[in-house]
């Protein structure tokens, strides 16, 4: 199982959009797992992963994506795990 960590905050305008894309991609592939982390509620995890900006996605290969992206780009980044 490949885990994707997704960091969001309540003040972030792009976060709901990115979250919906990630959920859609993950629902299509059983080998992928998504953990959505609200940094305001999970401050220690944000600290552990050195979260500076949101949205931030940490891919299973530890690559960080900082900032909102579209579905095509995310699928491309996750293609190795799909």
């Amino acid at each position: 199982m490949h885990k994707i960590l997704y960091f969001k905050s309540k003040t972030c305008n792009w976060c709901p959009f990115v979250e919906s894309i990630l959920k859609k991609i993950v629902s299509e592939k059983s080998t992928l797992e998504l953990e959505v982390i609200d940094i305001e509620e999970n401050y220690e995890i944000a600290e552990k992963y050195n979260i500076i900006a949101v949205p931030t996605i940490i891919l299973p290969n530890s690559t960080k994506i900082v900032g909102a992206t579209d579905e095509t780009f995310l699928r491309q980044q996750l293609s190795f795990f799909l």
């Binding site: 905050s9 979260i51 500076i52 900006a53 960080k64």
Partner: protein, 504 residues
């Protein structure tokens, strides 16, 4: 020793609030507008610096320490942290490029053992940067900085910190691919951290003299560290070019960094500006922190509704009485006949100055000739000629005479294309600085493209705005060489000199 001060304005607002309750007991009051806060003064531990920043660092204020690489920004930050810790004031020290153990080592190198303060929960040192070693990061420009805001907020709340040091902003921004976005989002960081009853210090690597960053406009105080190589000796100077609610200091004091600490020596030299900088409007001089210095490019923005002539004539007459040479780029609005008429009406006699050649009118577009002739001449004269005429006139006044140049940019912006207009303004500004003169350029900010206005603002040293709204006239300062700016103040026009009065 802590000094808690209730801001004077808070007293005033509190008084107004109770007064309104007595006078209008049934009036609905917007409670959200009533925000009172205590401003705490934090002594820096460097007496000379305390004097320069009006007693010490204030909570709710953001200060920037600007200086080139090696000027001592981090060292000064360390001493400011130490000064607060010595008074048992909790400090959060965020480094964006150096690991915490290295910061502790820095403290030690100046004989400052900080472990005790860390153990007592008075000091938190952390490194926060976008990129960690060995990490692959893909970036886009759609993000906010709520991650770092939350993490620093939690640290402040944990130890109830009153002083937050962010060293350095330049290194933090450098990690981002979309630097402009990061810079603009950093404003949220400043707002959030200062709202937590803390004093925020950010260090910025830049040439403190020639460059003014976007952050300068947002911070309440600027501490500039300057290094100069004089006779093969590195001279370090510290100044405070901007300080909110206090008269900015234009003095530069020398400082040294040794193992004994950060020492500031009181300046024995004259202030940076020794000449008479008066504009002829005493209140304006005070608001601008002493007037307008030589070598300044002043942009006077007008909203089209207001008559800027009383302001222009007051400045003009003031500089004539100070025996300055005056060059006027005349046009339809700013021509010799109108100026003479207005002065006559204001009972100011400038005939002597005209006779002695203290005023020169340059009509770049030859309004006095017919339209066809004007077009021919305009085609013949290029930008370089226009600039050369002004420079020649400035030189003609002689090196002993200080020169002031006035111009209404309306014609320039209408006649020239955008590229030529901006080039003319930039080169003219360069010439003004080169000849240590002062220029006042008037422009209707509603009638000019916003991009052009932004470029003019960047080039200008001082921005004064004149506006008229609801039958009232206002003056405000958006930018100045001393860092002193002020919000819109009511002005009244008078028939005699000085023809403008700022009502405080």
């Amino acid at each position: 020793m802590l000094y808690k001060l209730l801001n004077f304005f808070d007293f005033f607002r509190l008084f107004s609030f109770f007064l309104s309750l007595i006078l209008f007991p049934y009036q609905k009051i917007n409670k959200s507008k009533l925000t009172f806060y205590i401003i705490m003064l934090i002594k820096t531990g460097i007496n000379e610096l305390d004097q320069m920043i009006d007693g010490g660092l204030r909570t709710h204020y953001c200060y920037s320490i600007k200086g080139s690489a090696g000027a001592g920004k981090t060292v000064l930050s360390i001493f400011l942290a130490w000064g607060a810790l010595n008074q048992d004031i909790p400090v959060v020290f965020i480094s964006t490029e150096i690991e915490p153990d290295r910061i502790i080592h820095y403290f030690h190198s100046f004989g400052l053992p900080v472990e005790d303060y860390i153990d007592r929960g008075l000091l938190v040192i952390d490194k926060m940067s976008l990129k960690s070693s060995g990490e692959e990061i893909i970036q886009t420009n759609s993000f906010d900085l709520s991650g770092i805001i939350l993490r620093v907020t939690k640290k402040i709340e944990r130890i109830r910190a009153k002083l937050v040091i962010f060293d350095s902003l330049s290194a933090f921004i450098a990690d981002f691919e979309y630097k402009d976005t990061a810079r603009s989002k950093y404003i949220d960081f400043i707002k959030r951290i200062t709202s937590l009853d803390t004093s925020l210090i950010i260090t910025i690597e830049c040439d403190p003299i020639t460059s003014s960053s976007q952050i300068d406009y947002l911070v309440d105080g600027v501490i500039a560290l300057k290094t100069e190589l004089i006779n093969n000796q590195l001279i370090k100077k510290i100044s405070v070019p901007k300080l909110r609610e206090a008269k900015p200091l234009v003095y530069e004091n020398r400082y040294t960094i040794t193992q004994k600490g950060f020492r500031i020596f009181k300046s024995e030299s004259e202030p940076l500006f020794t000449v008479d900088r008066s504009t002829g409007i005493k209140v304006l001089d005070n608001l601008l922190g002493g007037g307008i210095a030589r070598g300044s490019v002043v942009l006077v923005e007008i909203n089209g509704e207001i008559n800027y002539f009383p302001f222009f004539l007051t400045l003009l007459y003031n500089y004539l009485t100070l025996n300055h040479g005056v060059i006027i780029h005349s046009n339809v609005q700013m021509n010799v006949n109108r100026i003479l008429e207005e002065f006559e009406r204001g009972q100011c006699d400038i005939s002597d100055y005209l006779r002695d050649g203290n005023i020169v009118f340059l009509d770049k577009y030859n309004r006095s000739v017919t339209a066809v002739e004007a077009k021919e001449i305009r085609d013949m004269i290029n930008l370089d000629d226009m600039l050369a005429i002004t420079v020649e006139m400035m030189q003609a006044f002689g090196s002993d005479t200080e020169v002031v140049v006035f111009g209404d940019l309306t014609d320039d912006v209408n006649i020239l294309n955008e590229r030529d207009f901006l080039k003319l303004f930039a080169l003219q500004s360069y010439n003004i600085k080169e000849h240590n003169a002062i220029s006042f350029s008037f422009i209707n900010y509603n009638a000019v493209d916003k991009k052009i206005l932004a470029r003019l603002r960047t080039t200008s040293d001082v921005i004064i705005r004149l506006s008229r709204e609801n039958y009232s006239n206002y003056i405000e300062c958006l930018k100045s060489t001393t860092g002193a700016t002020f919000l819109a103040k009511n002005i009244e026009f008078k028939k005699s000199y000085p023809m403008i009065e700022i009502v405080e």
